[in-house]
């Protein structure tokens, strides 16, 4: 139950509340450059989502199994050269950026081959974007977020597993698609408007993007509200009623009376 709440919060946060374009600014280049028609924008969004999921899978796998200290593969290989304790300390995270960008490049190649072979009509409509996606910030950003929750946490029990990593990637891509489709819809209408000459093109797109970002700001706090509703923690309510105060004091008194080994500790 706890796990599903976490997944829900990650999904909501990545797609809407902390939208990759409107909050983190990643993926701006296609947002400004490609969003002129709705069907092209939708195709771009789908391509990015697909590649992001594959890249996230690869980068999670490599981080967990090869890069972090104590990872199985690095420990195994280093075990031939040094003692097991030293092998468990080997920290390859300094190579993580290089590894991720190659994982992304490979995912793009793989997706391109796959789409060209099995979905030729689909390839004709958005195949031209695929090489562009390699330099899309959004995909590398998704990998970096996953890395920060795998290699960057102090507590081994709070490390993200594959499910959470894939949720972030999938819903991040969906959020990107939502943003770019909204933008392209607006731009299609904008063709018919009288935009001042200096603003035509990128400038007006950015200003409208800013207004959309203000709209998306309205979602802040939704995840904290849901979290409090689904995972209530005691002692968060701050009523100053006598009843709750007595309960808390009683609770504290109950557990401070006995020590760690069961002996009495004088309060």
């Amino acid at each position: 139950m706890d796990y599903f709440v976490d997944i829900l919060l990650i999904a909501l946060s990545a797609s809407i509340i902390n939208n990759f374009i409107f909050y983190y600014f990643v993926g701006c280049c296609p947002f400004v450059g490609v969003s002129k028609k709705v069907d092209m924008a939708f195709g771009m969004g789908c391509a990015v989502t697909f590649v992001m999921s594959i890249a996230a899978f690869l980068s999670w796998g490599i981080t967990v199994f090869v890069l972090i200290p104590g990872a199985p593969v690095s420990t195994f290989i280093a075990g031939f050269f040094t003692t097991p304790e030293a092998a468990a300390q080997i920290d390859l995270t300094v190579l993580s950026y290089i590894v991720y960008i190659f994982a992304i490049a490979s995912s793009v190649q793989f997706v391109e081959m796959y789409v060209r072979k099995f979905f030729p009509s689909l390839y004709r409509s958005f195949g031209v974007f695929l090489p562009l996606i390699t330099t899309n910030c959004a995909i590398l950003f998704a990998c970096l977020m996953i890395m920060s929750h795998v290699a960057g946490v102090d507590n081994p029990k709070e490390v993200w597993d594959l499910g959470k990593a894939m949720t972030l990637a999938l819903f991040g891509g969906i959020g990107f698609t939502i943003a770019i489709v909204i933008m392209s819809g607006i731009r299609e209408e904008l063709e018919l408007c009288d935009v001042p000459k200096p603003f035509k093109g990128a400038a007006i797109t950015l200003v409208i993007g800013g207004i959309l970002a203000i709209a998306f700001m309205g979602f802040t706090g939704v995840d904290s509200g849901i979290k409090n509703a689904l995972k209530p923690t005691p002692a968060v309510q701050e009523q100053s009623s006598e009843a709750s105060r007595n309960t808390l004091t009683q609770y504290l008194a109950d557990i401070t009376c006995k020590g760690h080994n069961g002996e009495e500790i004088l309060p």
Binding site: M1, D2, N18, D91, V94, L95, I98, D154, N155, K157, E158, T220, G221, D223, S224, K227, N228, K231, P232, T233, P234, A235, V236, Q237, E238, Q239, S240, S244, R245, L248, T249, Y251, L252, D254, I255, T256, K258, G259, H260, G262, I265
Partner: protein
């Protein structure tokens, strides 16, 4: 033929570059890795004297070139099916007297996670200080939780009662004044403080002294377990 040859040459080039760069990066990691680790630890450790002793005493101690002994341990609390982790730093004066504890806690704020350091006295009976390590609240509004003036309200509050948040000037013992325009951020921080006190005060007693060389123990206590022992 020449294409194949140049491709092969290319592959060698890529491998050579990869090896060169890999070695350079390994060197960077070897040299800077420890510095970065020290930075991460220093971030927390530097705050502990002020949190436990207060500004003046901490400055005095620094002027006399004396340092506190600090040892850390991780507490795991299981409640309602969820598990929460707290890092507790036990602090002793140079003469061996236990002076207090600092608990690193986190919780959900308005926008994202808030991480804070809560200073408690040796018995866990009153709060000696509060420091916000990491927050992503709204700048100019919720971010005011980092200001000294607001955080100073928590000093010398007793841990017996839950703290309540009031708008517009709380004067009573267990009241915290909310930041105007940032009620939710204020409530989140107070909530984290209350939860931390409720969960952790029972675990604060340490049996080792400052000089014992036992490695920091990971304690897996369930509050319910102690009740069963009666």
């Amino acid at each position: 033929m020449s294409l194949k040859k140049s491709n092969l040459a290319q592959a060698w080039l890529v491998l050579l570059l990869a090896t060169l760069f890999g070695t350079a990066l390994a060197g960077i990691q070897a040299k800077l890795g420890p510095v970065i680790e020290a930075n991460k630890i220093k971030e927390t450790m530097a705050k502990i004297p002020v949190l436990v002793l207060g500004e003046d005493l901490a400055a005095e101690l620094a002027a006399e070139n004396q340092t506190l002994t600090i040892k850390s341990r991780v507490i795991e609390i299981k409640q309602n099916g969820t598990t929460k982790f707290y890092t507790v730093y036990d602090v002793w004066l140079p003469d061996g007297k236990m002076v207090g504890h600092v608990v690193k806690a986190d919780g959900q704020g308005y926008a994202d996670k808030i991480e804070l350091l809560l200073g408690l006295d040796a018995q866990g009976k009153s709060i000696t200080g509060l420091f916000v390590l990491d927050q992503k609240e709204t700048p100019g509004l919720g971010a005011k939780i980092m200001e000294d003036a607001w955080r100073g309200q928590f000093k010398e509050k007793s841990t017996e009662n839950t703290l309540a948040v009031v708008k517009g000037g709380g004067g009573k013992e267990d009241q915290i004044d909310a930041i105007s325009g940032a009620t939710i951020s204020s409530r989140s921080v107070t909530g984290i403080v209350n939860t931390t006190i409720a969960n952790v005060t029972s675990q604060l007693q340490v049996t080792d002294g400052p000089d014992d060389n036992k490695s920091p123990a990971v304690q897996n206590e369930e509050p319910g377990k102690n009740k069963e022992r009666s």
